[in-house]
Structures are given as structure tokens and as C-alpha cells.
Homo-oligomer: 201 residues x 2
DNA sequence: CCCCGATGTATCGATCCGATATAACGGTAG
DNA sequence: CTACCGTTATATCGGATCGATACATCGGGG
């Protein structure tokens, strides 16, 4: 859910699309579900829903080039002209800020269960924003994830028993590596859960 | 690339959509990029491209219910009637087999480089089919993947240095866990590469 | 001065996903 | 026997995402 990621970042400060994407990429690694082709439509959706609003078509928003006030006014004029002309691309920044209804939407999305259909990426995203969750919500998120991985693991094991011998070495290697990764994920989660409960106590 | 997965499975034996999905799910875990909403369109694409062909609208393809030849003929008739009526859903199996041009397409997709835009799932898929690759192709695949992960890792580290202190404990935990997972992936790859080179020698 | 690379917004087509509809079959409870 | 239910099976829809590409502006170096 890209919306959640966007709202979470805008919650801290108003940003424009390009910067948003950079932060997203470095926050979730390269597998963030963030590309311009999905980011800009998502921003439009959020804007249409009233969850975010454009705060300033601030042209480049950089310390004024100190050639007197004239420079600033010219830049502003140029921005207006570009905006009015329906410029199809270009460098004029569109800075978005979160609204109060966006804040609310963020809370809802963060706490949403989605009935175990929570993607791997969605979980990482939610955990990265766990600071905005109440302690009970954090534990809940971690426990749900843990249950999901445990189930996935037992299913993988049952499957491995059923098909032992039918697969070649490469397939088996992939499967086993996945199994190990899942096991490590689970023990990571258990550490986090323990830490969470320890801090509450 | 779902096409690659489908062709790889059909290479071993002719299958229908439902079975294809089951094998896909247990082959790549639950993150196989396989859902009916993408599987059936992919089959249609492959059929249109001549890479696969329907071999029999075999109704349930089960040992004939031993009531003489009549049972079989009735079933075949029912299947023909259903097929002609343009049935919108239902249980009539559509079994697909790979064609020689499909074999060729499979080789191409498996060996394709895609200029480092290879997804995590795509890599796992290709590795699972590495048996169909020449030894040099296997090493190439593994080395490419390793280079990709090494780059991802160094980027993540540079990023961590830059933003140290700006992130809360949850974000940092996610990031660090990702880093560890990537490191393990790399050492796994290095094992595979060593094994591959050892077996060649 | 002019081109190059980084910054920035935007869109297109293709693909993939989750939900849902449709339908036939096997078994079992009444 | 039938009425229902869970599994098997194909198919489609709308929406989300992706990768590629286009367009536009700015700063800096040759």
C-alpha cells in the first residue's frame, strides 16, 4: 500500500514527489513498491480523497538568489505562467502536505488487518511506522506477522515431505533457502516481540 | 515473468491452469506471482503466441468409470456440448502442452539478462530452472545476482551512514534486518557459485 | 555557449493481484 | 433420492503497480 508510505512520510514533513520517492527507496530498500508510475497516481488519489493537499507550486524553493526581490518575483511569475499553461512536465515542484483527514486515514491503514492478506512489503512498511502505533497495536502487528510466517513455514515443510525426491537440486536449494530465511524472520520477530513486552512491563 | 514459470512447468508435462497454479505456489512459496487473475491471461497470451497449445478439453481426465465405453462417450459428448456453448466457467479442464516454439521462448527468457532489472522473484524462478541452463549460464546467472546484491548492500550501508540518527528504532530494525538478509543471500550465492565451479572442474 | 547530468512531473501500455462469478463434480446428511 | 457443501476448475473485472519514456528546467564544466 503506497498510500500508507506516502502518508507516513508526509506526517513528518511536507514533501514533493521526487523527494518522496528517494526517501521511500532508502527506507524500504529497493523493493518499496515505489516507482514514479505508481507514486504520482497515488498522490493524485490521495489529493482527490482530501488526504493530502498541494501547499505551494514553489519553483525550486531554494534560498533566493540574492539579486534583490526582483529575482523572487520573476521566479514566482514564471511558475504561475507554467502552471497556467498546463505544463506537461518540468521542474516545478508540487509540494504536498498531509491533512487532518489524511492523518486519520494513516491511522486506519496502519492498524488495518486485511485478514492475513498482508504482503511482505506491507509488513515492513507498517513496522517502520510502528512508532505511530500504540504498544498493544505493535505487539498485535508482530504477532499477526509471526503467525503468518509460522503457517507459511509449516506448509512449506509439509510440501517438502510430499515432494521429496521429485525436485532437482536447484529447486530444492531455492526452497530450502526460503525456508531458512523464513525461520530467521520468525526469530527476528520473536526478538522484537520480547523487546516490546519487556519495555511495557 | 509468469510466462517463464508456465513454460518451465509445461516443459516437464502438460498441465491445466489449476494444477499449474498449485505447483507454482509450492515451487516459489506463496510469493510466486501466481494468481488466477494473472495465470489465465498469461496462458491466453502464450496460446496466442503459439508457445503452448490446448491438447484436450478432457473432461476430468480420470479413469473411465468402468460402465463400458458408453460412459466415456457420454462424457466426451458433454464436454463438446459445453465447449460449443461457450461455457463461461465450470469444470471442463483445458490442458496445455508446450510447443517447440515455446521451448525456444523458454530458453530465451531463461537466459535473458534484462539489464539488471531482474526482480527477486524472477531470480528465484530462474534458479529453480537452472537445470535447463548450460553450466556457464548458471554461473553467469549467479554472478549477476551476486553483483546486484553487493551493490544493493553497499548502497544501503552508505545510506545508513548518511541518515544515522534520523531514524527511529523501528525503521532501523527493519533496515538492519534487510541488510542481514541480503548478506545471507550473498553468502548463499557464493556457496552455489563455488559448488557450480567445483562440479565443472 | 552549449551540451550533459541531475532534478522534477507526468503518462502509457503491460502486467499482476484480489475478489468475484460461474459451474461441474464428489460426498454426506437427512 | 435429494439437497446441500466443499473442492476442483475456468474466467473476468477493476484497480494497483511497474518499467520505459517523454517533457522540462536548472547548474556546472568544457
Amino acid at each position: 500500500m503506497l498510500e500508507l508510505a506516502i502518508l507516513g512520510l508526509l506526517k513528518e514533513q511536507a514533501l514533493h514527489g521526487y523527494e518522496l520517492k528517494k526517501r521511500l527507496s532508502e527506507m524500504l530498500g529497493p523493493f518499496s513498491g515505489a516507482s514514479f508510475g505508481s507514486l504520482y497516481p497515488a498522490l493524485r488519489r490521495l489529493e482527490a480523497a482530501g488526504a493530502v493537499e498541494a501547499v505551494a507550486s514553489d519553483p525550486v524553493a531554494r534560498p533566493i538568489p540574492m539579486t534583490g526581490s526582483l529575482g523572487g518575483e520573476l521566479a514566482a511569475f514564471a511558475a504561475r505562467r507554467r502552471s497556467a499553461a498546463g505544463a506537461k512536465g518540468g521542474r516545478t515542484r508540487r509540494v504536498y502536505a498531509i491533512t487532518s483527514s489524511g492523518q486519520q486515514l494513516f491511522e486506519e491503514l496502519l492498524a488495518a488487518d486485511s485478514g492475513s492478506t498482508d504482503d511482505d512489503r506491507t509488513f515492513n512498511l507498517k513496522l517502520a511506522f510502528a512508532r505511530h502505533l500504540p504498544p498493544a497495536g505493535r505487539v498485535n502487528l508482530l504477532e499477526r506477522r509471526r503467525a503468518q510466517l509460522v503457517q507459511r513455514l509449516s506448509q512449506a515443510r509439509a510440501n517438502a515431505r510430499a515432494r521429496r525426491g521429485l525436485l532437482d537440486a536447484y529447486s530444492r536449494s531455492v526452497l530450502e533457502h526460503c525456508r531458512e530465511t523464513t525461520e530467521r524472520d520468525i526469530s527476528w520477530l520473536e526478538q522484537l516481540i520480547a523487546a516490546e513486552k519487556g519495555s511495557v512491563k
